[in-house]
Symmetry: D4
Subunit: 247 residues, 8 copies
């Protein structure tokens, strides 16, 4: 129940239109969201956080995914599904022919016409194997209204690839550093800029990378202090944080 | 060697004042910082990142700490030492009587007169045991020019303590959530605001808290996506990230 | 050998019907259960714990599963198989056409007519991906005689979804909180009720969730003390504990 | 703001005694608890959960501890401080001469006259080294109104010590099993009773016990399903859960 | 080079049949085993340890497996292959029609006629899911000349199943305790016997069992001291240790 | 209640000296051991396992330690206390002047005259820093009737130190291999002998030794199969296992 | 931009051919490598490190792999792809018929005629299951100009297999020790030679080997100090380090 | 028994001075080293590895340390003790007044006059807190005959500090990279040179550094392949490896 509904409730009590008992019970019963049976859509999220819920694919059937996308699209005129499998993607494309499926980033994205293209977000990545995370980040940024710039394959084993572009780096409002293996990219980038760096460890690597623990710990212990970190392979989260910073 | 020095170098080569060989060798030899023997102060950091180096106390003698503080203060008219032990604090107070020592947050802080008091940072914490981290965060914010607001002891076991202040929460430009034990505060706060939330897991707890691993994992896996995370007990890092966001 | 058999033994020794040597050897040889070759059914469990053994599917052939179900059903007129694979489910349905197979919760359940429908157990879950665990919990409760109430998708990223139903929450005799990711649901729920909360961490999540370690640690470190925890994805265990509490 | 206050608010709005604006602002400002500067006492907890807040000693000065104890005692006529150090204990004894300090369990407990002595909780422990956790559990039970029965040193290396007392074991409403090393006590006890078993892993052991991880994992994986688990050494939590079960 | 060959070398040097230089070089070049190209069979192992090498299946082609089995069988008249996959098993059966393939324990075993059937080893297991490890243990014992006795499904959730057979338990020369989940079987058995107990943790379980870490830690921390432990699922190792004890 | 007492009970029931009800109640009440208040001494252990209980020092006061030692000594004429601190050792020496305190192995040992000196146990260790564990092992062996042979400082960095003594090594009935760092000693020794090898990982090392995890894992994964493992630094357990093997 | 290009730039500025502004902008824009869209080839690597980039197969399509191989081959007349899958291998063979595909080591290697065959590298491995890592190491050595010698299956369970070849071992310039399970091979080899030993832990093993953590920790804690370690299964890295040592 | 002694043995057998039986027994009895009671000095190490044993201080008394130092010094005219405590250092200085004690690196070093000063080793470190490890490395290098060059405080947060000295970096025969926190220094350095980089992770850091696990994993996963790694804080090991490389 939002500010507006609460105010209306008080007005109706004040007017005598509503008894106190009924007001109390209505407050308790105010719908938290749209109940779809096995999911409850939090339409208030757009009011609270500026963007509608995003649908996380894994563990949902194609039918459930389409049902959720429809419900969100009806209210918000856009939707984003992350970590889709091919069956979900096909079902979504059938239902929303204009939606865009990116098989690398595993996203399906539908946007309304009014989607502004704000700037300020720069995504840098360590290697080509990080591309799926980079694309999930880029698609989420677009969903949130940002056209992020992307520099791929600028890892620290050839640090001159970064250094020749220092000025452009320093112009970003926020940098998202995507890297697996030892994740040193975040520290090196952060040492070169005054902007906040959102670090995304990826599960790229093998052996003692332990599915991304190595770059995660690296990024949490960065000797450059303007680094904060999201979950392993969490391009979605990095985009949400970066957008919140740029708002 | 900064932009200015590089331009001057080219001008002197252009004027014939400097031979090409000498220019090459000068570029290689450009001092990276002020060499104090066992430490090299990176005075360029203020240019690159907007604030001078911060001195991390552990593993340094009192004499080394004072020497570093003097070198930074001479150039930048302020300094911050974090994680000080009592002996370092006493030595710093003798050398800089106006510096402020906070024994809870374990910081010694010296500021110049011109320190502006910018706002927008809100620090919330789960319990009174998190106070040392809260105070380190607050002092670092002040060093970086921000007067952070602080709400203590609003942990999720009594979630109404947060909910009664939702509007104030929603006005912050960035929220720093400091919590130990299960670290759920970050998720609950992030679900209520559109701003980015910088989460600081603390080592408060025992047993399966594993020195802060429990809240760290909790914060990295937050179901609210506008959360990013710094190291365990890293109030300093959270303040740097939050200031970079607010700049 | 139960109280009754022991008493009879003493009576027969007292009557001289049985020599002491034979009584001693009989005590040693008392059958612990029904021996099916590669499994020993503990029929005494119903006497000791109020319900017959439950069959755990993984690592058993379809034939073994049906054999065990028959043996238990003959004595107890009901059975429950958890974590069934499709082949086991088909074989069980052929043998017991009235049994109910739930493919989401991966259970096959056969009940006798006399199954009372006791109440008091409330299951709350964080998201739709937790549904398999929720359904395993619900089916196990039913097997144990309880018709649990279920609220899905009330995770803490939208904490108002819980708060609007606080009174109903407070009426439960025991709450089972099922959540993956950061598992904060258990703490928030527990802070709102006086009842015990049985927390079930799920393996829903990725990266630093580490297959459910993140919510497990979160729940073990809950700042609300009326929380106890079962194994990751262990809906079965949570239902057994909750039923034992409600008895 | 509780049910009563909320009703009064509606009545005053209904009566015209209070403007809608003021009602709205009063709801936002309703005090969450008693603010002591660096701590906020949650006096509503007794209403919500049946017992006042418990004070966790570590990280608090003796003065802070006494201040909190006074604030709680003023309202609730009792208090409990856990994990006290000797200085806190002495300060509390000076302020509350009737309070009882248990140096083994590291608790200070003050009770009102009306403390009922309810029964139903049985604490069993594996060895004498688990005594501090046993005593913390016992004191917390007493604070919550329960006179728990205690059996020490009945570990599974001599399983007959338990088996000779099976009937008494089976009469408990809830059993709290406290054990370090391999923590097998919880499984063996749970296999013998129908009641819920609250398992407390302790940090007793060395080497591959890893500070209590070994019994924690053991208890989470118990082959007897009526076991739930609290944090390592968390006698306090076990007592709160057991009391909630017995209510 | 064994004692005999060394003695002959000295004799030939003493006789003048061999120059010192040649003796030195021959010592360096003494073959360590039969070189099959990508493997070197250690035929001396039977002399040193009383049994020929055992072939570990994983990572070998069917052809390599058969080649190794032939080489060992030619010298020792028996062989054992563990962890075979179906293709290896078929190839071995074609080459050695009398060899026995056990698909549960994943072994292929060929024995000579003279295989004595020594006794003294008792294998006990917690549940039917531990059967593959039990059968690997049994087959390895047979290869090493022991006819082990096996009791399945005597886990501690029904501890009376063990207690009714205590005398037989106490007659074993060595007990091998195979258990997954919390692995408490080893402690309970060891508390009842004077013989050494070789504990085999299995990967049976899920969630916080972590692939067998839970029972492994449990067994390493057993409060009964006559327990020693082998690797997770290592039925082969347990049989080798038990046989070495019984020799 | 042992075999003898049980037989007597049946005889008295058979004679009519005892009613059935009384026999039942007596069986339930049979004392499990000597109850000293906070400890229960398991005097039956000597009957079951061939040696009286051993007292583990940590977490006990000097007075408790002496009380337990007296109770055991009265029945068994010997005792062993492990991991003693200096205060416990002094108190034990005052009470038992003939007891032997070994400050390196941290044991206090009192033996009766009849202690036979059986042989067959060989202890080998990797380096001088493993000496405390070696001495705990040696003292426990002596308590159990064995005069173990000890070879120190024969680690694998100089493998010839072992190889020159291979024959003596091969004569041992059981070898206890004590090693920290990478714990390779167990594998190398086990490859040279047919006897079982009881491996004791020690916490000697630093960094990635992780308090003994490195040698523990090494020993559990030994490529020589006649190795079994006890807990980190658990010289006591190794001696109990080795004695059980040699009996 | 390399030394040569930099010198030319200064000369052109000195000659007046280039304005200072343009020189500055050219320095910023100097290409870091050949940009292929989703990858940037670092052709400077051969200048800096003596060999062209190596292509890591996983996460790349066959088409991407061939494109990268072509780009490197055009400049450097050779290439190496590691961890190839069969589809990549087929595509590479079609494009480069002379390239050699090794399905065991999962490499595709193309060499120019001038490839010198330098010596000094000896690879020793513990067992036949380590062969894939051995072959990756061997192929990488060849790519870098070295014809490594290889001894397979000389693990420490039969330490005499190594000892008979000590002199040859001592002649190596650098030894690469490849071993899974407990990884003791590295320590034993290093104790016998003066050369540096590059240790490669492999994921061969099961249970408490934890995918190679056991040998990794073993090698990091080697009691022989002339051991350094690369990642689990990282034959490529070991070859690069060994080649750098031999240069 | 070395080559020389073995040859002499054969000659005496050849001459008939020694019977075959006696030669055999002498080979078995050849002393492995100098036996000091609780330690066996491996004087052969200098022959095998080019330098005498180094004494590791922890766990040794001052008297033991001096005894070992004397035994080594008598044969080799030099010694090195690492990780000394102050008492050991004082005792060593009394016994060897010319020995040098470095309290930062915790070493005591005695050298003979003939110590050559070879070059080629460059030590770089991330920050001043790494100084103890740097000094242990430097002292060990000196003991092994190398005068290492040292660059302190060139961490990647200010990567220009390294880049201005690239040429000097590229001249090193081997680089030892010492770094805590995220350990990115090793990757950045290795990307700039063709020499092998020996990486030493240090325990400098807090929280999710986990005592050096973060930089250890970082270094094992370096995206620059010419990196190998030693144990956490293992300056000694890095120096031994680097010296072996430079020999």
């Amino acid at each position: 129940m939002d500010e507006h509904a609460l105010r209306e409730l008080f007005e109706r009590v004040s007017n005598g239109e509503l008894s106190i008992e009924k007001a109390l019970s209505r407050m308790r019963a105010a719908p938290a969201g749209e109940d779809l049976g096995d999911a409850v859509i939090d339409h208030h999220r757009e009011l609270r956080q500026g963007h509608p819920e995003v649908i996380y694919g894994p563990g949902k059937t194609s039918a459930q995914t389409v049902k959720l996308a429809r419900a969100i699209h009806k209210v918000s005129k856009r939707f984003l599904v992350t970590r889709t499998d091919p069956a979900q993607a096909r079902a979504l494309k059938r239902a929303f022919p204009k939606a865009v499926h990116d098989p690398v980033g595993r996203t399906v994205l539908a946007l309304s016409a009014r989607s502004a293209k704000k700037t300020g977000i720069l995504i840098v990545s360590g290697g080509t194997s990080d591309q799926p995370v980079v694309e999930e980040t880029r698609a989420t940024c677009r969903y949130l209204g940002f056209a992020a710039e992307v520099w791929c394959d600028v890892g620290v084993a050839g640090v001159h690839r970064l250094l020749t572009r220092v000025e452009a780096l320093q112009e970003a409002r926020v940098v998202i550093a995507v890297a697996g293996m030892e994740g040193a990219l975040a520290s090196v980038v952060a040492g070169l800029v005054a902007a906040p760096v959102v670090a995304v460890p990826t599960s790229v690597g093998y052996g003692a990378s332990f599915g991304g623990i190595a770059p995660l710990l690296s990024m949490l212990n960065s000797c450059a202090a303007n680094v904060c970190c999201v979950n392993i392979d969490d391009g979605f989260g990095a985009a949400v944080v970066a957008s919140a910073i740029c708002r």
